[in-house]
């Protein structure tokens, strides 16, 4: 569109200012992790690596990191299976209630986290606890898987829509069995979308705190729960800064990878 130079420049300045606004708080956290003073004094009083050293020996943070990894892997594994199945059903078949199925998949992430959290908490208390499944890693994984399904579903569905079904039909016409078609045609087509979906699902699980609070037990602490518990402890604040700085830097990895593997970077999260 032909716009007056003044308007173009205004829009350009606004856009870069907004990007600056997005990154400034993150920069402050990273900077603070090197800040000599214990509280977040600004401007910083000096540069030190003391907190990074302390954080690498903080058993609380490392245990929480390990718990988060386990929860993320468990939830991602369930989400891959269920999300892929649902995506194939919706994209490759016509059936009554198809819209309801896609609505159901989106629902856990469209509803506020507190509702999902309270609902799962109520179920775990009244149904799971009497069955001997107490609050813990299992319940956290169940909770996370519920809202991770949609991420895998969206990625696979987008890929199936883009690739169409003609190659699969050609494969059957050439005499391939259902398994051969899946192994040599369908799976290679969706492989990168699967990896992208899995990465994003893991990222979502790794970062989740609202549902986690209501599905976890006191002895199962994911990294976000650990950060939240230590946020207001003056002694731990610098270590929280370091953990936060590490998480900010790590955030680039899933975005970069899924952007290279997926169809469209903006489809990464629904």
């Amino acid at each position: 569109m032909r716009l007056p130079a003044g308007l173009r420049w205004t829009l350009r300045v606004i856009t870069w200012l907004v990007l600056l606004f997005l990154y400034a708080p993150l920069a402050i956290v990273v900077m603070n992790s090197f800040n000599k003073s214990r509280t977040f004094a600004f401007p910083p009083t000096g540069v030190t690596l003391k907190w990074w050293h302390a954080a690498s020996h903080s058993s609380g943070a490392l245990d929480a990191l390990w718990t988060s990894v386990k929860a993320g892997l468990g939830a991602t594994a369930i989400a891959i299976v269920l999300g892929t199945m649902a995506a194939f059903a919706v994209q490759r078949y016509n059936f009554f209630g198809k819209n309801t199925v896609s609505f159901l998949v989106i629902l856990p992430i469209a509803l506020p986290g507190i509702i999902t959290g309270i609902a799962l908490n109520a179920t775990f208390r009244t149904v799971f606890d009497p069955l001997g499944i107490g609050f813990g890693l299992t319940t956290v994984i169940i909770g996370h898987a519920t809202f991770c399904i949609v991420i895998v579903y969206n990625n696979i569905q987008a890929r199936l829509r883009r690739t169409g079904s003609s190659l699969v039909e050609a494969s059957s016409d050439l005499g391939a069995t259902g398994w051969q078609t899946f192994r040599f045609v369908t799976f290679p087509m969706i492989r990168t979308a699967l990896v992208a979906g899995a990465l994003l699902a893991f990222g979502l699980s790794f970062d989740e705190i609202v549902v986690t609070t209501f599905t976890s037990s006191p002895d199962v602490q994911t990294l976000p729960l650990w950060i939240f518990a230590n946020l207001f402890r003056p002694n731990q604040a610098p270590i929280v800064d370091v953990v936060a700085a590490v998480l900010i830097v790590l955030a680039v990895v899933p975005v970069w990878l899924s952007q290279r593997l997926g169809d469209d970077p903006s489809s990464g999260r629904i």
């Binding site: 469209a110 986290g113 179920t123 999260r269």
Partner: protein
């Protein structure tokens, strides 16, 4: 595409042999295959998720023993009655809806020019860079970002330093700012996608017909991206309704629905009252979704 071609060649070689009876069965029974594909995800979502929502509604009707604090599973409307007749809870509910709407409006106002610039003005390379730049903070820990705002807004923090002692302090305003910051990418990305779907030809046609840029923006651009803004607003609104962390970190004494619910469940250990309170944001989001459905937003999510 290289993989598929290679796969197809391997396949023609392997095709004639090994036609297992099981796979023949699956190949002919489309309905059966569909049923198998749907069974596990639907079992999970209907039983685990909808079932849980059902248990939540049921538990809103239970009460707690005032002496032991244990849940008593007898049906009573006491909690729902207490929640919906209490002026305190209504005030908290309105404050929460106000915060969610304020966050949504702020994010829409910021996202429109940014997404427009990214989609229609920036070069291809800048556009890709900006999409990734907007997407990346989404994956930086949510808690860390809320915490960063606590640092920024601290009495001796950077905002106070830049504005010579003027900061909003911790409270309702700080909560709205923080939430608007947290959910901004959720608004920018759908609006950007909306602009990408808007054909450049329409904008040119409008200016060929003599419309000035502002007129084109008002009469062509805004009506066409409105469904995308509505789609983004579902996220900003829903996420704001359900947030108790940011309020806890930068809200000072501010009470929003989610942290009242959290307090009832975790601190007061009154699960039935928490479940009854949770119906408030649920009604708010259902009303919002129904309102947004009329704009065609749900097809854009």
């Amino acid at each position: 595409m290289g993989h598929e071609v290679a796969g197809a060649q391997e396949l023609t070689a392997a095709a004639p042999r090994n036609r297992g009876s099981l796979s023949t069965f699956f190949a002919t029974k489309r309905r059966t295959r569909l049923a198998i594909l749907l069974s596990a995800p639907m079992l999970w979502l209907v039983v685990a998720y909808l079932g849980s929502l059902g248990v939540m509604f049921a538990s809103a009707l239970w009460t707690t023993d005032s002496f032991t604090g244990n849940v008593v599973k007898t049906i009573s409307g006491d909690n729902l009655h207490a929640v919906y007749t209490s002026p305190v809870y209504w005030r908290v509910a309105w404050r929460t809806v106000e915060a969610a709407l304020a966050v949504t409006v702020i994010d829409a106002i910021i996202a429109l020019p940014v997404a427009f610039y990214m989609s229609k003005i920036a070069s291809r390379r800048t556009r890709l860079f900006m999409v990734v730049a907007v997407l990346t903070p989404l994956w930086a820990s949510y808690l860390v970002k809320a915490y960063a705002w606590r640092t920024l807004l601290a009495p001796d923090g950077p905002v106070s330093w830049v504005f010579a002692g003027h900061t909003p302090g911790y409270g309702f305003t700080a909560t709205v700012i923080t939430l608007a910051y947290l959910w901004l990418p959720f608004m920018v990305l759908p609006v950007f996608a909306g602009f990408e779907r808007l054909p450049n030809g329409l904008l040119e046609a409008s200016s060929d017909l003599g419309a000035k840029p502002m007129r084109t923006i008002r009469s062509v651009v805004l009506p066409m991206v409105f469904p995308a803004v509505a789609a983004g607003s579902i996220f900003t609104f829903s996420l704001s309704l359900g947030d108790y962390i940011a309020v806890g970190i930068v809200g000072g004494k501010t009470q929003l629905l989610a942290n009242v619910i959290y307090g009832q469940l975790i601190t007061a250990n009154n699960q039935p009252l928490a479940a009854a309170l949770a119906t408030m944001p649920l009604i708010a989001i259902v009303l919002y979704l129904l309102a947004m459905r009329r704009t065609g937003a749900l097809e854009n999510v």
